[in-house]
């Protein structure tokens, strides 16, 4: 694994836990962790349970005991690391967004295609697909329970930089993060909405904004410019005809991690909020109107995706479980010689949506088709 900050911690927990709950043909061994600072990476490896450390990710990628590389670094290094790992014949799990630019993402998708021909697998880490409630939502859509989809309403609301005194961390600098709320959390709702509806965005009209344009530097004194968006809003149309509304922001005071999705179809509707991640709200429009209403399904039943591997009904899963599910699915795909999803191509498509959003926002919100 490369990187050991927030994503590294949760990925470690996933690798540590997957085999205890899922019947896996391959048992993960946490071979080595890479980071530039020797002392810090050593401490992290001890705490997170990695057997060895490397201070250069290139060495990690080429270790004999490494068969899969998990890329948990900021977006500006994804392309280089992932492509090198794929070329070295290592399977790759790469955190989202796949890259900071469409060009990088294209190169990665091409590398993934070449590697695939040699049996080397790749996956991009849109972990929210593995929330049981969202995986079950997709099942309901694919079973036709929503009928013709008319509306998609997606929001990802956070509030961690509402305070103008919050420092200029790497996520607020374009050269590291690519974009702001758009790439960080907007990418998640684009993927989640497309995944649940089994459809793709055809075009968008967008606005973006940076509310606080200067912030204190994280170390030392002085202030620096915020070079990414604080919020991005767009409306759009899916290929299948649904209208869509998306909003990603870090300025929604009181909303901590509100990834919300509502889908309305001719036969039913779904609603979800990650702040209550074990619940899916489903309205069945096909029956008697007097009995109809949004029902709160606790997605913890044996018949729900992933849930049967864990605890009895009503015993909640948490954020980290989505990564454990991701790890389990990836290992099963690798063992089966199958392609795990979402692929790098899926990650590239999301990147193209994000690029269309930025293009529209820069161009008087004009309608901008998503290529592909």
């Amino acid at each position: 694994m490369v990187g050991y900050a927030f994503m590294g911690r949760v990925h470690s927990q996933a690798w540590r836990s997957a085999a205890a709950f899922f019947d896996l043909p391959l048992r993960p061994v946490m071979a080595a962790l890479s980071g530039r600072d020797a002392a810090r990476v050593t401490a992290a490896a001890a705490k997170l349970g990695w057997a060895a450390v490397e201070t250069d990710w290139k060495d990690l990628v080429h270790r004999d005991d490494v068969q899969l590389v998990d890329v948990c670094t900021p977006g500006d290094s994804h392309a280089e690391i992932a492509i090198a790992a794929l070329e070295a014949g290592r399977h790759v799990l790469c955190e989202k967004p796949l890259a900071n630019t469409v060009a990088e993402a294209e190169a990665m998708a091409e590398a993934a295609g070449r590697a695939r021909a040699r049996g080397v697998r790749s996956m991009v880490g849109f972990n929210y697909r593995r929330v049981p409630a969202l995986a079950y939502a997709r099942e309901l859509v694919r079973a036709g329970r929503l009928g013709q989809i008319r509306h998609v309403r997606a929001q990802y609301l956070q509030d961690w930089i509402v305070d103008p005194a919050f420092p200029l961390v790497w996520r607020l600098r374009r050269e590291r993060a690519g974009s702001g709320a758009l790439g960080d959390i907007g990418a998640h709702i684009v993927d989640a909405a497309q995944y649940v509806t089994d459809d793709l965005l055809a075009g968008v009209s967008a606005i973006t904004e940076t509310f606080v344009r200067e912030r204190p530097l994280p170390e030392g004194t002085g202030r620096g410019e915020v070079t990414v968006d604080d919020a991005a809003l767009f409306i759009g149309r899916f290929r299948g005809g649904a209208l869509a509304s998306f909003e990603a922001t870090r300025f929604a005071a009181g909303r901590k991690n509100a990834l919300r999705l509502e889908v309305n179809g001719s036969l039913g509707s779904l609603a979800f909020d990650f702040e209550s991640m074990n619940e899916l709200w489903f309205h069945d429009h096909a029956g008697d109107a007097a009995e109809a209403g949004f029902r709160r399904i606790l997605v913890t039943e044996p018949g729900h995706p992933y849930a049967g591997a864990w605890w009895p009904p009503g015993h909640a899963l948490g954020y980290e479980h989505t990564f454990t599910h991701q790890a389990a699915d990836l290992l099963q795909a690798v063992a089966a010689g199958a392609d795990p999803l979402p692929s790098f191509a899926d990650g590239l498509q999301v990147q193209r949506v994000l690029a269309a959003v930025e293009e529209s926002a820069a161009n008087e919100s004009r309608w901008t088709p998503v290529p592909g």
Copy 2:
């Protein structure tokens, strides 16, 4: 009162009830009801409690015992009736949207201005301003409890025409209704959002859609074309800098009358859903983060707008009460020689927002400023 369908019924209940709960300087007398069909208007007057009937609204407007005309007809007749009533020196309450076009609305606002100079009052019926929770929301905003407003999220979701077999009623025909979801319910969220935030929309980028383009005619056989929008979505910016997202639709299966508003500011946030109309959710961002959260305020306390006139705390008000509050406020303004709000000028401004939405939607979603 002119008209006795849905709006006429609820306005009647308001006129009947206002004086029993509010201390009014003027006591309303329900003098006469107007409608074209003599038998039906007579039956309606008997049931709704009106003392006399007229089959021509012009006669009603000029009756000696009529001092205030309440216009409850479809939008295509608002301008003619309201202007005639104002010119006849009658105070006017006109249902929203003020008119079907900006030109009509401008003529009405001008007539209202002329009448005002003669002490004749006018008001447009955006009843949702008189939901206690929304009136209280505005108080919180004006008291600075939300700080700098960053985001407005407004939706008005209904589902009464999801079924393609639903007939082509007058609300689905442009010549009667002006527009579809946009003017009917979109107008309400535009007004409500501007009212609560005490700010105005500066510009928009929009899409609209008619999902079901032909429907059975309401009487007899055959089918006709739907000439209004089924749904309208737009993003925008307020003059004060807030980003906004609006959605009005009649295709949100399971949402019956979900007028939802969420406002995020630098010091706090508000959320409201008319389906739970006695509740306002308020997040105070100024205090200790460990204790913070959206609190469910039951807006039924004596200290809340309008609520003290009714029942003890926790005893819900309903939809019709918003009209009773409107009637009481109008009577108080008339007695005081003051201008009731929202004025026809306010109604015109909302009309301009709707027109900008339609213009943007017709023009590749391009950014379209709201004049004025």
Copy 3:
């Protein structure tokens, strides 16, 4: 009508509104209002819309233009007024609790029986039966949708006397009110639970408590003793075998009018909270567990009890509507020569439950059967 305080105000609104929304064979005329203080009753009659006043309820009862007497006084005068009215051949609507003692309630039920033989009708005002959600809940139970009922969980939580400085109003004095939370709000949940489940309590085990034993007198200076319960809790069994838990309190800080009912059966469950009075939560246990969950039914559909008389789906009703429904049902029964429900006999049975609760609480919580 006798009395014009809280109950008088809401009953007046019911009489004023019923005929405008329900097709009634009899149209109520608000003939006369009675109260001891001439000035105050005159002002109340003007405001509430009563045509005449009486300062002695005996005169009201015998007026020629009075055919129905609505008793809205405190419980200590219910028996005397209601019996006199019945004997004078007036139909009677009597607020709950029917009386302050079982003996009084028995006398009233006997008087009602005698009057009934002469075609004179009587009804006790358990208005919560006419919440559409609770009436619909009963329909679901009677249709077998819950199967064998196992559990009833009923609470009525208020908080208006949490503050020890709140004065010693008449509701806190046994000689006026009969009991405290028990008779005032406990009576409502006993009736509501029995009504929804279509079953009766067989026995109870109870505790009661007066947390604040002395309070300031409402007028002048000094303090007086609180002679009623602040809270009453009991567990019990229904005749059909369900276990039950009841709690009535005025000390639940933050709960304003939380009449809550949850019923669990072998095939389904129901949950209700009057603080969200337009919602009924229904869990259908008969289907696929993966799709099951409590659904939030907005009880505002044309197919729901009472709702069709009012507004389109999703347009909330409020507290007062339960009284309007009660008035409409009573007038329909009178016109039809039928007995309205709940009868005085039903009111007596509730009184017996309350008496069993007090007996158990006074007797080491020992199991106490409910007679009858």
Copy 4:
């Protein structure tokens, strides 16, 4: 660890994870797992991550590499195993309920006292104390934010045996489980309510019921008698004067793991439902009534108990984390030479409450004091 069923699986995850998230002075080593069936315990150890296996728990207790014994068996073997382990100088974590009888629990508490004198620690596994929301609830109570506590309302609702065809598993047999819903889930709400309020139950009045008295045997054919309660309800008083209502049932259709607690005090109230385990609802009764309401606190902030060790705000924890917190706290206590809580004495006190419930239920619900 002894036992590897449900509790064994979740305890294993706790031991595996604790050191990766908490800074622990001792790092747990998962030395050995014990179970009677050699093949099954070997497979479980491999899957759950235990280094060795024993088929006799006595051998496990005396292994040199075992310093702490985690007892995850049914209640009938708790006393024997825990006492043996303590006498062998091993620290002990014992699942709840501490024992099947008060006599066993007394013996265990005595053994724990003797062991403590030798520096050997013991803890009973009431894991719900380590739900961050409940730990934070206790902090609020202890900080005086609720004032004088008036009401405690506790329910633990499940539905896994609603179907009469559900088999006669060990939890439905008195000789293995001690009691039914009472000991299994009733024990949890007794502990949780006492923990949050920092007070103890003084006495109770109870009813219990077995709705389905015969069930199919789990293996083979035939039916057997259910010898435990399906549901237990009781009312009671806390030593500090609060009134309480408790209900534990496995027959609440649609409630999966609804451990609910509501506490009302003179200055505030709290509400919790484990089905939404990351939320605590807090009503502050001390401020302006117009602004007051139950606020939904997402208990995922750095300032909340345990939460800072995990993810950013709004990223949910799940059921298993309560066990990880328990493991971390136990290890910290052992390292510090301190007594972990809840102690075996605390477990014994809960057992006495359960015994009082059964005694009251067998004795006409008569008031039964809780000794001690």
